[in-house]
Amino acid sequence: MIETIVNAVQLIVTALAAGFAAYRFVTSRHRAWLMFGFASGVSFLSNLYWQLYLIFYGETPHFSYIPDVSWYASYVFLLMLMHEVRSVPLPVFTRPRSRLLWLVPVFTAGMGVFYMQWGDPIGNIIAAVLMCLLIWQSINDLIALKDEVCKKKRLLYITVLIYCVSEYGAWTASCYWIGDTLLNPYIWFDALLSVTFILLTIAVERAVRR
């Protein structure tokens, strides 16, 4: 019951975020809104697909290709969103501004290997690579922020990091499922994921403001 409520809230939040982003893209023509609209829209649709399948057939999809690729797509759109708000166009994987950043691929690769006990190897490799890029870029861009104009983007990078933390938290908690109860950390990480979409809306608005 609690999981259903949390999922319903997430569906509403992602749908509203996608709708707002679409409206802002039409009014401002800023591509960052298009990327955020796609990220939240794809998250909404993949959650909806999963929930509808569960409601109508009483089980999760046998072959989860569609929701899986959609969740990966939302990470790609978040990467593109960070790319769009940069003042100067840079490649997707920029040079590290701190040596500590090399811990990011170590962490994501380690977690990927850990999750392979439950999930398929290819899916886990793709998720690990995309998560590595997201965490790497957000920390790297956060370190690079200097002047006042750039600092407007700080919230965006911090929110993307919170998004990654909540994804990793939810994945790890789902490996040790303790039931549909408030004591289950999965519920809280899933709720945090919904909050990040609200924060991302505010962060994009602030980052693209002139």
């Binding site: 679409a22 796609f38 697909y49 109508f56 929701p67 797509a73």
Partner: protein, 209 residues
């Protein structure tokens, strides 16, 4: 037994003849419509093959495999046009829509052959619903191509991400229309409403320009 190849030949023959009398953009759009029909035929083969490979029945395949296969196949002719002929993004966005229209038309024809043509209301609802769904999925891809085709890494990552967006929209639609009662009509209405919203946004955006 549904002789899908025979139907394809009959439907496309007059269009192929007409192509020799067409020029310029009209010819290009006709080619993409035919390509859409061809992709629909190939999608049926590939989905059936993948379903057999995974041990899935036809119903499960229609919900979990076909949407992804169909969206990938629908985008292939336009990717070929963009990469080989170096088409501009606006032209490619129109081509996506024509491919989607051709795909939906051929899919509807196959549905008619399998299920008969006596229920006009049901067919009209299905025709508009499925047609709008393919057009909306095409619009998602077209919108992305128009805005993402300028930079190389965005081009590749964006195309894959857009395919996923279109597939999950298609998959959700397939789940809804496979039900009974009011849920089916909700399923058919979602792409129609989405198409109306996209048209309204386009009108608003063109007025602004």
């Amino acid at each position: 037994m549904n002789y899908i190849e025979n139907i394809f030949v009959c439907i496309t023959a007059p269009l192929i003849v007409a192509m020799f009398f067409l020029r310029g953009k009209t010819l290009r759009m006709m080619i993409f419509m035919l390509a859409g029909m061809g992709m629909c035929l190939l999608s049926a083969y590939i989905s059936t093959f993948l379903a057999a490979l995974q041990g899935a029945d036809i119903f499960t395949a229609s919900l979990e495999i076909s949407p992804l296969v169909e969206e990938v196949m629908k985008l292939l002719p336009v990717l070929f046009y963009l990469i080989v002929f170096g088409a501009d993004a606006d032209d490619a966005a129109d081509a996506v829509l024509m491919t989607a229209a051709g795909f939906a038309t051929f899919e509807n024809i196959c549905y008619l052959i399998q299920n008969g043509a006596d229920d006009l209301f049901g067919l009209a609802v299905r025709g508009f619903g499925t047609g709008a769904m393919h057009i909306v999925c095409g619009s998602i891809a077209g919108l992305g191509i128009m805005h993402l085709w300028k930079r190389k890494w965005i081009r590749a990552a964006g195309t894959l991400a857009l395919l996923s967006a279109a597939s999950v929209f298609h998959g959700t639609y397939n789940i809804l229309v496979s039900q009974t009662g009011a849920i089916v009509y909700i399923g058919y209405s979602i792409p129609l409403v989405t198409a109306a919203v996209i048209i309204a946004a386009k009108v608003r955006s063109s007025r602004k320009i």
